[in-house]
């Protein structure tokens, strides 16, 4: 079996506790992530699920090294990127891309779509950046007519396609997608999911897909990591975890999803915690 693309060992992140009152000496620290260990295999989708405050976005930001972990290590393709300085990271940035939740706030409203996609390419010294940007537009099925438009002229789904185009234009090996469909209508969400599936297959991508929606993860992911309060409570192959969740939290997350089927009993159970 091939080496995993990303290996995470005993990863921890703590931040100064801003809610702790003023005191002498160092502020107490708040542990956001604790003792996370897992592998992300090459080519495929890992789903990261958890409720708000579980640390899933923080974990994602550590994986693409927008945050520096305070414990443990992260190996990307065998390189230890845990504490790499920004200058050293530059070489890896092309490989580690991210798509954000809210495309409206992550796309500069004063730039055209072409400039938004070509910008990062130029930053990395890619030649013919604009041609490559147009190719990326094709790949996300937006068409080249969108090149000269501005973000506000696009629908939510189209903006999210631009976010994806920006990420794939650099030809990365790893993409982190953090709740990228949570602001979209179901019909648009279904289109974005179809696009991700197509890109993962065609471009041999490795994708980490963060979501609070277990149903989405069941569809997209090959493996799953379930986070609760900064710790992994369950991980494994997607079908195994769904068929027989070993942690009650995973089972509760699954049971809480209202499937579009009639079921009177779903609302009758007493208030369980």
């Amino acid at each position: 079996m091939a080496e995993p693309l990303i290996e995470v060992r005993d990863l921890g992140l703590s931040l100064p506790d801003m809610n702790a009152g003023p005191r002498l000496g160092r502020r107490p620290r708040l542990e956001i992530l604790r003792g996370l260990s897992f592998d992300i295999p090459r080519r495929g989708v890992v789903g990261i699920v958890g409720e708000s405050g579980s640390g899933k976005s923080t974990l994602g930001r550590c994986l693409v090294r927008l945050l520096e972990p305070s414990a443990g290590r992260i190996l990307f393709d065998g390189h230890d990127i845990t504490h790499m300085a920004p200058s050293e990271l530059t070489g890896h940035r092309r490989d580690l891309q991210m798509v954000f939740q809210d495309p409206m706030s992550s796309l500069n409203p004063r730039h055209t779509i072409l400039r938004l996609i070509a910008g990062p390419l130029k930053l990395h010294g890619v030649e013919q950046a604009e041609d490559k940007a147009r190719e990326a537009l094709d790949r996300v099925h937006l068409g080249r007519a969108f090149a000269d438009r501005y973000p506000h002229q696009l629908s939510g789904g189209q903006r999210q396609r631009v976010g994806i185009a920006r990420a794939i234009a650099l030809g990365p090996r790893f993409i982190l997608a953090d709740e990228i469909t949570s602001g979209l209508d179901v019909s648009t969400q279904a289109q974005i999911v179809a696009l991700l599936e197509e890109l993962v297959a065609d471009m041999h991508l490795t994708l980490a897909f963060i979501s609070h929606d277990l149903s989405l993860i069941r569809r997209l992911a090959d493996t799953i990591i379930v986070l609760k309060a900064g710790e992994i409570v369950e991980q494994g192959r997607i079908a195994d975890v769904f068929d027989a969740p070993t942690h009650p939290y995973t089972a509760a997350l699954k049971a809480a999803i209202p499937l579009p089927t009639l079921d009177d009993a779903w609302l009758e159970n007493a208030q369980e915690a």
């Binding site: 409720e51 708000s52 939510g156 209508d185 179901v186 019909s187 969400q189 279904a190 289109q191 999911v193 179809a194 609070h212 929606d213 277990l214 149903s215 989405l216 069941r218 569809r219 769904f242 509760a252 997350l253 699954k254 049971a255 809480a256 999803i257 209202p258 499937l259 579009p260 089927t261 009639l262 079921d263 779903w266 609302l267 009758e268 159970n269 208030q271 369980e272």
Partner: protein
């Protein structure tokens, strides 16, 4: 059938001659029913609730049709009379509990305001009622919660407080506008269970706005599906989730992600369904 709320051929326009954001909407909510309003963003689902509550944004006006609540025509009422009627008999459960609560006031005042100022209760009776209702929504320490500020409560607790506030005055009708959209799934389930239990206990009719077909299936007696400001269909839950719903309803259900059959869900709404629906709406509404 006579509903407690009867909306007939309602159109709402932007400005006197502007575009219609609701067109020819008819629906009826029976006493004791939870009636879902479902559609994608811009379909007009929240606007229907706002029209009933007299909360249409400035510049939007009812241009045609009627809204009858318990036999009274609401569209003909002067604004102040409408406000009074709504204040006395209709309650709203809003989407975002954090913006709906005043951060600088304790919970007590925010629940009792309506009882004291609109219904004319004396303060002591209102406070007792507030405590009683908090108890009813399974808040463990009502007295302490009444003294709290919104930021001291979790999202789920705040939504419980708003549900208590809505039921405190024993309204005849409740408009719930996506009340669980901002919540985590496990909290959402508890809140839906609570809404269902409270609604059943008090027999309150309810208009429940949501974009989630799953929520409609689990909660609603009947629902109205909207697209582009027009009604696609109204039906019982058994019809909508049965073998023969409108193709657009079926497409919305098919687009919903499902962990129990991952490959046979998340289907993009087919282009032909939208085209056929547009043609159908064109033919019906002009």
């Amino acid at each position: 059938m006579t509903g407690i709320l009867e909306i007939d051929s309602l159109s709402v326009r932007i400005g006197p001659r502007g575009p219609r954001i609701l067109q020819d909407v008819s629906l009826s909510v029976a006493p004791g029913e939870i009636h879902g309003l479902i559609g994608e963003s811009g379909a007009g689902k929240s606007m229907i609730g706002k029209t009933v509550a007299g909360l249409l944004p400035r510049g939007l006006n009812v241009s045609e049709g009627s809204v009858r609540f318990d036999g009274k025509e609401l569209t003909a009422l002067p604004r102040r009379r409408l406000r009074k009627l709504v204040g006395e008999r209709i309650a709203i459960i809003p989407q975002d509990p954090l913006t709906a609560l005043n951060p600088s006031r304790r919970i007590a005042g925010q629940i009792t305001d309506r009882l004291v100022h609109t219904l004319g209760w004396d303060r002591r009776r209102a406070l007792l009622r507030a405590e009683e209702t908090l108890n009813e929504v399974s808040i463990r320490n009502p007295a302490q919660t009444l003294r709290s500020y919104p930021h001291e409560l979790s999202g789920g607790m705040r939504q419980r407080v708003l549900i208590a506030a809505a039921f405190a005055a024993a309204p005849d009708f409740i408009i719930a506008d996506e009340p669980t959209t901002a919540l985590d799934v496990t909290v959402q389930r508890q809140i839906l269970q609570l809404i269902r239990a409270m609604q059943a206990r008090h027999g309150t009719a309810m208009l429940f706005v949501t974009h989630d077909m799953g929520v409609v299936a689990k909660l609603c007696t009947r629902a109205t599906v909207l697209y582009a400001g027009k009604v696609v269909e109204t039906g019982t839950a058994e019809h909508l989730f049965g073998p023969n719903p409108h193709p657009y309803t079926e497409a919305l259900i098919g687009a919903t992600p499902r962990y129990d059959r991952p490959e046979d869900s998340l289907r993009p709404v087919p282009e032909r369904v939208i085209e056929a629906l547009r043609a159908e709406q064109e033919a019906t509404h002009g």
